[in-house]
Every structure is written in structure tokens, then in C-alpha cells.
């Protein structure tokens, strides 16, 4: 049930206007019925063979009816104030409000500290706004457009805030790995550090180490990278399927 409730309770006001001309009676169990219909729909799609005219018509009608009924029910729930089924969420017509958010952007004057804009505070404010919007998606409006663009925050303030702590760690890690690899190569082959620098194989090894340190920052990263690789080739495989079939069936036939 919670699935079908609107994310914010001011929705009922529009849905009331949407359904002003529908004449369905309100039945409290209908949302369940709707769910069944939806399931039916997906079964139909997977079954891959449905689509008899009459059946589909009936189904469509049923679905249409139940959808409007769901909408209607939600509307009436809102109007008489009983929201036992719908989870209690943000109050009516909630909009993001912050004294520093003016005209669809952050008023940078209010972020000034010692005559300079405190970009860190801007980032903090934007983080809060995005978090808020994630929980309470807001209606887009043409009269009040959002013009804030993260690229107005200078690059060095991003680097200072997000990259430097990480960089320290990565730098240390790369140096350590580099040192040990050099030591290992030296002990195994007897090639000194200076000679290693002129060697193609050792250069490659160094490159691998740096890339590895950059890509694998946590243990999960290995798994994620594997998944990513699989994901990128998945669509290719789906397309190739029909060609693999050719060779398979070809050899079977002969």
C-alpha cells in the first residue's frame, strides 16, 4: 500500500481535479486489485504470446478503472484527513527554504567571510539542499527556475575539500608499493634501482602499480571493477546472441 501513496501529501489536490469527472465509488480494497493487474500485465509481457483483442480490451478497461479509483481514493483520503494508510510525510506544499537561497541560486554575498566567499560553506549548503530534494522531490517551475551550477565553485576548493585527504593516503600507498616492488625486482634480478628506470618492463610495472593504486582504493573496488567490466560487455553479448546461434545451428544441421 505504501507503494502507491504519493511522496508528498499535497498531491491529492491535483488528483482531485484530475478525477473530477470520474464516477467510481470508493472501495478501500482496490489498490490491491490494481497491484494484481499490474502483475498480470508483466506476466503478459513475459509470456510472450498474449494479446487476444477482447482480453486486452477488458484488461485495459479494468486497469484504467482501478487506476482512477486508486487516485480517487487517495484524493478522498487527503480531503477527510484520514491518512492512516499513507505514511506521514512532509507537510503540504513543502518547498526548500533557506535565507541564503535567493532566486534559484545561493546568494554568494551571504557566504562572505573576511571579504572572500567561503566556498566550503556553499558546498555544505548545496549538500543540504540536495539531500532535502532527494527526500522531498520538488515541483519544477518556470517562474522560479534553478540557476545554481556547481561549476561556479572554483576547482581548488573542490580539490582542497575532497581530494587532499584522499591524495595523502594514495600518495603514501603508491610510494610504499613502488619501493617494495623496486626492492623485490632488485633482489630477484640484481638490477639496481637506477637501471630499473631505463627498463621497459620495469616502467610498465610502475605504471600498473600507479593505476592500481588509483583504481583500487578499497577492497570492494575489485569486485566493483569486475562488475563494471561485465556490465559493459553485457549488451554486446545480448546482441551477439543471434550470431552465435548461427554457428551453433549451422554445425548441428550439417
Amino acid at each position: 500500500m505504501a507503494l502507491f501513496s504519493p511522496p508528498s501529501t499535497h498531491f491529492p489536490t491535483i488528483s482531485a481535479t484530475f478525477t473530477s469527472k470520474t464516477h467510481f465509488t470508493q472501495k478501500p480494497y482496490l489498490p490491491l486489485k490494481f497491484k494484481r493487474n499490474l502483475l498480470f500485465l508483466s506476466i503478459k509481457a513475459t509470456e510472450n504470446g498474449a494479446g487476444i483483442v477482447e482480453e486486452e480490451k477488458v484488461e485495459k478497461k479494468k486497469e484504467e478503472a482501478s487506476v482512477t479509483e486508486v487516485v480517487k481514493e487517495e484524493a478522498s483520503l487527503g480531503s477527510n484527513g484520514v491518512s492512516a494508510v499513507a505514511p506521514v510525510e512532509a507537510p503540504v506544499a513543502l518547498k526548500f527554504k533557506d535565507p541564503r537561497w535567493v532566486g534559484g541560486t545561493w546568494d554568494l554575498k551571504q557566504f562572505e567571510k573576511d571579504g572572500k566567499t567561503n566556498w566550503d560553506a556553499v558546498i555544505d549548503a548545496e549538500v543540504r539542499r540536495r539531500k532535502w530534494l532527494q527526500d522531498n522531490p520538488e515541483t519544477s517551475s518556470n517562474d522560479d527556475p534553478v540557476v545554481f551550477d556547481t561549476s561556479i565553485i572554483p576547482w581548488w576548493s573542490w580539490v582542497k575539500r575532497f581530494h587532499l585527504p584522499e591524495a595523502e593516503l594514495l600518495n603514501g600507498r603508491a610510494a610504499m608499493i613502488g619501493f617494495f616492488m623496486a626492492y623485490l625486482v632488485d633482489s630477484l634480478t640484481g638490477v639496481g634501482l637506477v637501471d630499473q628506470m631505463g627498463n621497459f618492463f620495469c616502467k610498465t610495472l610502475l605504471f600498473v602499480a600507479v593505476v592500481g593504486v588509483l583504481l583500487v582504493r578499497k577492497n570492494e573496488d575489485v569486485e566493483n571493477l569486475k562488475k563494471l567490466l561485465e556490465e559493459t560487455t553485457f549488451y554486446d553479448k545480448q546482441w551477439q546472441a543471434t550470431w552465435q546461434d548461427e554457428t551453433a545451428s549451422g554445425s548441428k544441421k550439417d
Binding site: 507503494l3 501513496s5 509481457a45 485495459k60 517551475s141 545480448q238 554445425s251
Partner: protein, 486 residues
């Protein structure tokens, strides 16, 4: 690599040069696709089944083609489904001198569909301008944090995205097929008997409605030499040839009649909403239709929540569609990738039945019509205008040409979807990227004309850097978002 191996193979055999050329022509598999991952595997299987195929070829050296001539009649082909794919296929076949039957269950079918067609389709399919209800020249992309970007500023005055009603477009293409000589049958395709011997006909069973759609219909059969399955996502032809299933997205759409003063805004403008609230892996839309707007959303991964997403989409567009009345509710499956098998014997699938819908944009009309036509052309060519029997190899030509032509388009859109519909920060970056004029120009060029134009390398580099910058910034913000609580 494969072709080198083939060459070596052939030079050791005694067949003459001409046959070699011929076999190589038909044996060549689609390299562009296969090279990527399974080069070794393909190479292996290719050489393995080569000798036997070669013998076939050698037996048929004397005739120009191996397939027998048809006497007393022309090749008979049935097209199942009368959408854009079926209509285009039937027209091509009929024009090519083939006895064509088009079976459609509902001649006034009003399919739930965005109905956007690219500009090049108007030219390529010679569509009359009056079937286009609206010309969209402005697109608005709206990010999760409601940053709206207009992406149509680079369009030239004569460029637009056409919005059609499917019942109009489908009927027009069908009529044109009929005029070219195809027989349109109003009937429901039931099943198909596959031939036991080579070159024997396929027997189709269908119930003919004979004008009145209400009745149960009369059970009839039809014998044909080849079948084109253009019967959409729930294809029965695909089931008959055991083509396998595909993942599908479910698209939900409400047609909303909004007050005239609100409609002015949507005169020539379409909106796309992205965000986790609207759809976790697709987008929500408001498209202008003839006298109303279509508000909808789609998803693959969270089908059970589609109703919630629809409410969210409506909520995001709330002020603009205020006072609207829902006049129709529709839902439809959209294929996500091609079926594991797209042809078998003398049966080929086209359009949605084959699964030719792009990711990211979810576009399918143009590709359906185009694949129908391409398949028709392959049959006409293979049968030498209906004089000869066709074989699987002729249909394979269609498949090969199709994949070669459109695979890059599909792949690019797949990558775009994977990168930019992944999460809210990625979507923010996507919208930021779309604000760039260069991006808009490239997007519209490739959408409207369906060709990938090589861009300016300097601009490409700039774009790549900007995009990565956007992605990094948005993701950094998300990292902080996870840390705080409101």
C-alpha cells in the same frame, strides 16, 4: 584474423577462385560485433563448420543461386503485424514483386507510444507532413534538483522532432502497402506450422475478422514461403520460432487533457524529467500530443513501483499540468535488447518483435520501420523479385546489414544510459552536460539524421573533461549527502 584463416583454408582446397569469393561473402559473419570479446571463440567455430558448408557451395557452382525457381506464381510472404515495421516491410515486399499478405488484428489500434519520429524518417519514408501533429523544437531536461536545461537551441529553423499519433502513422503505412499490391488481412494470428521438408510452405493459422472487429472471427489458414514477424513485444511469431525472451521495460503513460492556457507552453516543447523519484533507470516525460499531453515514465528494474513513479512525474510537472483531466491510461512493455534469435529458417523478426529499441531514449518507431524495410529488401533481393525461393542465408544478409549499420548507435546509447542514469549525481552531471551547445548539436544531429558524425576532436576533449568534472563534483556532493542527516 578470421578472414586470414579462411583464406588459408581455401587455398589448400581445390575449388576455384570464384567459389571462394562467394563463400567468403556469405560466410562472413559480422566482424564489427564479434571482434570485441569473443574473437577467439568465433574463429574457432567458424573454421570448424567450414568444410561442410563449402561442399554445399561446390555442389551449387553451376547455378547462380542454390535455391530453386518458383514456377507459376511469385514468392509468398506473410507479414504479421501492421505497425510501422509491418507496414514498411509489406510495402517493400509488394513493390519488389512479391505476393504479400499483411495480417493485423486491429486496424485502428491506438498503441501507447511516445510517438516521436526523427526528421530523417519523414524523408526516407516519404511521409506526408499532415500526419505530424506537432513539431517539437524545444526539449527541456530537468535534473533531480530541478535544474532545467533547454536542449533545442541549436536546431535550424526547418529542423524538428515530429510527434505522430500511432493510429494515424500505422494506418498510413498500411494503406501505402496495400496500394503497392499487398493484401491486408484483418485477423488475429494464432500459430504457425513450421515446414517439415526444405522449401515446403509455412502454414499460418489466424482468425479472420472480416471487417467487424467484435466477432470471434473465422479460423483460416494461409500458406506462405516466408514470414516476417512484426507483431511487437508479445510476438507470437517469435514464440513459434522459439526466439527466446528479452528483458523489457514497462512504460506507463497517462494522456492528460490540460487547459488551453497551459497547453500553450507545450505547443512545441517536450519535457524530460530525470531523478530517482521519477524512475530509477529511465526518465519521466511530458510529450505534447495533438490536443493533449502524454505524461509518463518507464522502468526495467522496479516494475512494481511504476505507479509511484508516475505520481512523482506528475508531481514534478504539477504546476504545468494543473487542472488537467486524465483521458486515457496506457502501459506497454518496451524491449531492452534484441532477442537471442532474430531469425530461423525463412522466418525473420523485425521492429519491437526483434527488440530494436534503443536504450536511454527508448526510441523504436524509426528503427522498426527501417528494419522492416531492410528485411523486405533482403527478401526481394534474395528471391530475385519473387522468382526464386529464399533461404536463411538471404535473411541473414538483412541481419548482418542491420547490425553493421545500427550497432554503434545502440551501443552508444547503452553506454550513455549506464553512465548517466545510474544515480542522481550522474543525472545532475548529465543535465549539466546537456547545457553545452556542442553536446546539443551532436545529440540532435545523431537523433534527427541517424548518423554518427565525427565531431571536432578539440571539442570532444573539452567535453570529456567537463563531463568528468561534472560527474566528480556531483559524486563528491553525494558523498557528503550520505554523511549528514536533516
Amino acid at each position: 584474423m578470421a578472414s586470414i584463416a579462411l583464406n588459408a583454408r581455401f587455398t589448400t582446397t581445390t575449388c576455384d577462385r570464384k567459389t571462394t569469393e562467394h563463400s567468403r561473402e556469405t560466410l562472413k559473419t559480422f566482424i564489427g560485433l564479434r571482434q570485441t570479446t569473443l574473437a577467439n571463440h568465433n574463429f574457432h567455430s567458424l573454421t570448424k563448420n567450414l568444410p561442410s558448408q563449402q561442399i554445399n557451395r561446390r555442389l551449387s557452382i553451376k547455378a547462380a543461386k542454390s535455391s530453386p525457381k518458383i514456377t507459376g506464381r511469385n514468392l509468398r510472404v506473410a507479414v504479421i503485424g501492421g505497425g510501422p515495421a509491418g507496414g514498411a516491410a509489406a510495402e517493400t515486399l509488394a513493390k519488389g514483386g512479391i505476393e504479400t499478405y499483411l495480417i493485423e488484428r486491429k486496424l485502428d489500434n491506438c498503441k501507447p507510444c511516445g510517438g516521436a519520429i526523427p526528421l530523417c524518417m519523414v524523408g526516407e519514408f516519404d511521409l506526408p507532413l499532415d500526419i505530424i501533429d506537432r513539431r517539437v523544437t524545444k526539449m527541456k531536461m530537468i535534473s533531480p534538483s530541478n535544474v532545467a536545461v533547454d536542449i533545442g537551441q541549436t536546431l535550424k529553423p526547418d529542423e524538428y522532432i515530429g510527434m505522430v499519433r500511432r493510429e494515424v502513422l500505422d494506418a498510413y503505412l498500411r494503406e501505402r502497402a496495400e496500394k503497392s499490391g499487398a493484401t491486408v488481412i484483418n485477423g488475429l494470428f494464432l500459430k504457425m506450422d513450421l515446414p517439415k521438408e526444405p522449401n515446403a510452405p509455412y502454414v499460418l493459422h489466424y482468425s479472420a475478422f472480416d471487417g467487424k472487429t467484435g466477432g470471434v472471427g473465422e479460423r483460416s489458414t494461409l500458406e506462405v514461403d516466408a514470414v516476417i514477424g512484426a507483431d511487437g513485444a508479445n510476438s507470437r511469431v517469435a514464440k513459434a520460432i522459439n526466439a527466446g525472451d528479452y528483458d523489457y521495460a514497462i512504460a506507463f503513460q497517462e494522456r492528460i487533457k490540460i487547459p488551453d492556457d497551459k497547453m500553450v507552453y507545450y505547443e512545441n516543447l517536450a519535457e524530460m524529467y530525470v531523478g530517482d523519484d521519477v524512475s530509477p533507470d529511465f526518465y519521466g516525460w511530458v510529450f505534447p500530443k495533438c490536443d493533449h499531453v502524454a505524461v509518463g515514465t518507464g522502468t526495467v528494474t522496479h516494475k512494481g513501483d511504476i505507479k509511484k513513479f508516475q505520481v512523482a512525474t506528475r508531481n514534478r510537472a504539477k504546476d504545468k499540468i494543473l487542472g488537467g483531466k486524465i483521458i486515457r491510461v496506457e502501459a506497454h512493455p518496451i524491449p531492452e535488447h534484441p532477442r537471442p534469435r532474430r531469425l530461423s529458417g525463412r522466418v525473420a523478426l523485425v521492429g519491437d518483435a526483434a527488440g530494436y529499441v534503443t536504450k536511454c531514449s527508448g526510441e523504436g518507431i524509426y528503427f522498426a520501420a527501417k528494419s522492416g524495410r531492410m528485411c523486405g529488401e533482403a527478401i526481394v533481393e534474395g528471391s530475385e523479385n519473387g522468382k526464386r525461393m529464399i533461404e536463411e542465408g538471404d535473411l541473414r544478409n538483412y541481419l548482418e546489414k542491420w547490425d553493421k549499420t545500427y550497432w554503434p548507435t545502440y551501443k552508444v546509447l547503452d553506454v550513455l544510459q549506464k553512465v548517466f542514469y545510474r544515480s542522481n549525481p550522474a543525472r545532475e552531471a548529465f543535465v549539466e552536460m546537456c547545457a553545452d551547445e556542442y553536446v546539443q548539436k551532436m545529440t540532435f544531429d545523431s537523433y534527427l539524421y541517424k548518423r554518427v558524425v565525427p565531431g571536432n576532436p578539440l571539442e570532444d576533449l573539452k567535453l570529456a573533461i567537463n563531463t568528468i568534472g561534472s560527474l566528480v563534483r556531483a559524486n563528491a556532493l553525494r558523498g557528503e549527502m550520505d554523511k549528514i542527516s536533516l
